[in-house]
Assembly symmetry: C2
């Protein structure tokens, strides 16, 4: 059997992942190696400006990113390829024994963050810190985008409160950007509070609830809708959630009720994938209740996004779960998080640390390692952040925590812990920033510079 693309031997190997980097990381590293410039340096990953239609971000992707970092090894094929591209032997020898051995401080996943706040700080020998750039950005940018979108959908489903996340199901694999994206979107959605995923591989790996009903093609494969429903209940008497909109929803609900009655199983639920979901869910609820099937739930799907979900919830539509695909997987209304990774300090030959500042037009970077200090007001609501120097004495809760020391993880957190943090973070957002709305909040969340950073920023 010939492969369709003879150049593409399937899934990426772990060793190949070492080259999942922009070429310039390697050329810069080679030059540093040649010059003997490998004193410690500090880089920070942050988002300069929040994306359009976003007033906060929910941080995600750190765990998978650091998993890849800790396993970063250059294999023989990879080194041979680099040799063929002109990298010199001494540098390739360095890469052959590469292990990340530095320090990483970061906002743990499930934290809410804002523009200019460092999400990750890498303090390591310059070459090691440089070589992490692409992989960290590749993982953290899109997973933060996905977790943020999922959090907004979760808030929409809860009328502005994060507790209703169980009602939101990830239906995105068909619209996610490939295999890694499908896995990580499911994970990010789970951190944000979503209650399940249609993605079986993600459910297995991350211990999530796999959720699914049937496609229209299933119904169309039988002589009648009722026969399709009956066959499905035969195979899965305990999980009969039946898709009722292949022909018309009202008739579909009646057939679902009939099929459950004839099969003598309790109907678990129905799914409506098109039409006026408010009116149709009310009609369906009425029919189900009249048939004594109060336990049967109603799942809505079909190009759902946060605004439409918020409207359905506000209208009181009797929908129990929302299956969200495209918008969850691609964050269609704001499809990028433009995190960057910038050097902020380095040690000189005598080991004395110096802040590093970039001065390009409109792209200034504040020098020095930073920390975010968050204050809380009444009922634990976030009241303001201060961006300060890492060693500065600033009131508030410091958000960046020790994650790696000497290349070893300081602590491991389960998905349940990340999920609990996210729920707490979202509940602590000012109500104005939690409410589903196309309009930006009147008062943006305050992020100020500490006295020390103000002085540094003013010095440019």
């Amino acid at each position: 059997m010939t492969r369709p693309d003879p150049n593409d031997p399937g899934l990426l190997t772990a060793a190949e992942t070492s080259l999942l980097t922009d070429l310039y990381e390697l050329t810069m590293a080679a030059s540093y190696h040649r010059e003997g410039m490998n004193e410690p340096a500090a880089f920070e990953l942050f988002v300069r400006r929040l994306p359009p239609r976003r007033e906060w971000l929910l941080v995600a992707g750190l765990g998978p990113a650091l998993g890849l970092v800790s396993e970063l090894r250059f294999g023989e094929r990879e080194l041979a390829y680099l040799e063929s591209r002109g990298f010199e032997a001494a540098f390739l020898e360095y890469l052959a024994s590469f292990r990340f051995s530095g320090e990483i401080d970061a906002m743990p996943e499930g934290t809410v963050c804002f523009g200019n706040e460092p999400l990750v700080r890498v303090t390591a020998r310059r070459i090691e810190a440089q070589l992490l750039e692409t992989l960290l950005l590749n993982q953290v940018n899109f997973q933060t985008m996905a977790a943020t979108k999922a959090a907004r959908v979760v808030l929409a489903a809860g009328g502005g409160e994060p507790g209703a996340g169980q009602r939101v199901i990830d239906f995105s694999p068909r619209r996610d950007h490939g295999i890694d994206a499908a896995m990580k979107v499911a994970r990010s959605a789970a951190i944000a509070g979503c209650g399940g995923t249609s993605n079986v591989a993600a459910a297995m790996r991350y211990g999530l609830e796999p959720v699914g009903t049937m496609a229209h093609s299933y119904i169309l494969s039988f002589p009648s809708e009722e026969e399709a429903f009956t066959a499905f209940l035969r195979a899965f008497p305990e999980r009969g959630v039946l898709l009722v909109d292949t022909y018309d929803v009202e008739g579909g609900v009646r057939n679902a009720i009939l099929a459950a009655e004839e099969s003598r199983v309790p109907l678990r639920g129905i799914r409506i994938d098109s039409g006026d979901l408010d009116a149709l869910s009310r009609r369906a609820r009425d029919l189900l209740d009249r048939a004594g099937m109060n336990q049967a739930t109603i799942i809505a799907s079909g190009d759902l996004e946060e605004g439409r979900i918020a409207d359905l919830v506000a209208a009181g539509a009797p929908i129990d779960s929302f299956g969200v695909g495209t918008d969850l997987g691609t964050s269609r209304d704001s499809p990028t998080v433009n995190g960057v990774y910038k050097i902020v300090a380095h040690a000189d030959a005598d080991g004395i640390w110096q802040g590093v500042r970039k001065l390009s037009l409109a792209k200034e970077t504040i020098p020095g390692a930073k920390q975010v200090f968050r204050s809380f007001g009444r009922r634990g609501t976030m009241s303001g952040d201060v961006l300060g120097a890492a060693d500065e004495d600033v009131p508030g809760q410091p958000l960046l925590e020790k994650v790696m020391r000497d290349g070893e993880f300081v602590a491991a957190e389960s998905l349940e812990q990340l999920r609990a943090r996210a729920e707490k973070s979202l509940a602590a957002l000012p109500a104005d920033l939690r409410r589903p709305s196309a309009e930006p909040a009147v008062e943006p969340y305050p992020v100020e510079l500490s006295p020390q950073l103000s002085a540094l920023a003013g010095a440019s």
Copy 2:
């Protein structure tokens, strides 16, 4: 060493990929298996409506998708997981020996397509055809989105002609949605005609040109810009493309010239990543030419997208290459391709094929296996498509070709062949659809139904 997320053991294995599917594919398959419903069926993958701001799509992702299909195997862990979720033993036995053995017809990658045109048709035993759905959509949707975006950037760089693709470089890994996306965006961009990628793993795997310069952090790591440039030229005398906008561009170009002169190497080029790229590139070109460095090229980057590139090209800015990241990787102005996979025909117990039609509101599917017949006018320009029945006699070039028979690939195509097809396809687009513009073309490209399909569509 503890992993940061104890649930996540790193890269996905090939066996796990078998579960990268929506749960409902497996529940439907289990029900078909139980009912003995495994006669042949035909499914088509198509986009109902073109996405916003898109008047055509460039098909990509088929090769990687079919590579995964051909290797789809359920491993012991995966089967044990499904057993724990209530799947019965007979179905798990079926899955244990699963191999795709059906037929696939498809538009080869690099073909231009429109709404309602089938990109892929799977004809196989019902269960096999059903089990491919999620993986095919997961790969083809986003890669078609990425190739289309890349093609638009390529056309913008060529003032509406596809020949200038060499000038466009994929700088997207830091904004792509994970590892698989970074690989496939580089591949899709190459199919669309792009001249290189910063992604070293993709360059190695697909035989692309790896491209890179240096980051601002590199310049900032040295006492002065000139020292940074000199150090870089020492390491890579042959590939000195120097980033000149860390402080100010004009001074940066002068330092680049000085560094090249002192190092006695020919300056390969400079990169400008911020500011007024038109004015700055002219000033830089002037300085380089005065120094006798006519061979030095100018690379522009920094949140470039097709409109800005078209403007720079129209203005005659002396830019040789465009590095495009975020917009290439996320297709920010139109970030989804909503392909669907629908059953269109199945055989009854006597082996007689029947068309299948779905009637949900606004989501009608035309029954029967289909073919797209494309006509060309003067100078090979596409003049119109007819969507016909697969066995209908319609004038024009049929676009769907045999790709798999009995689960085996009919033919393999190299990336060069896909790239050549894409260039030919883009050149054959009517000029109105090739020109970079925010305005939709006055005349949308004509796609009509054949007599046979008109009769079927009217019969609903």
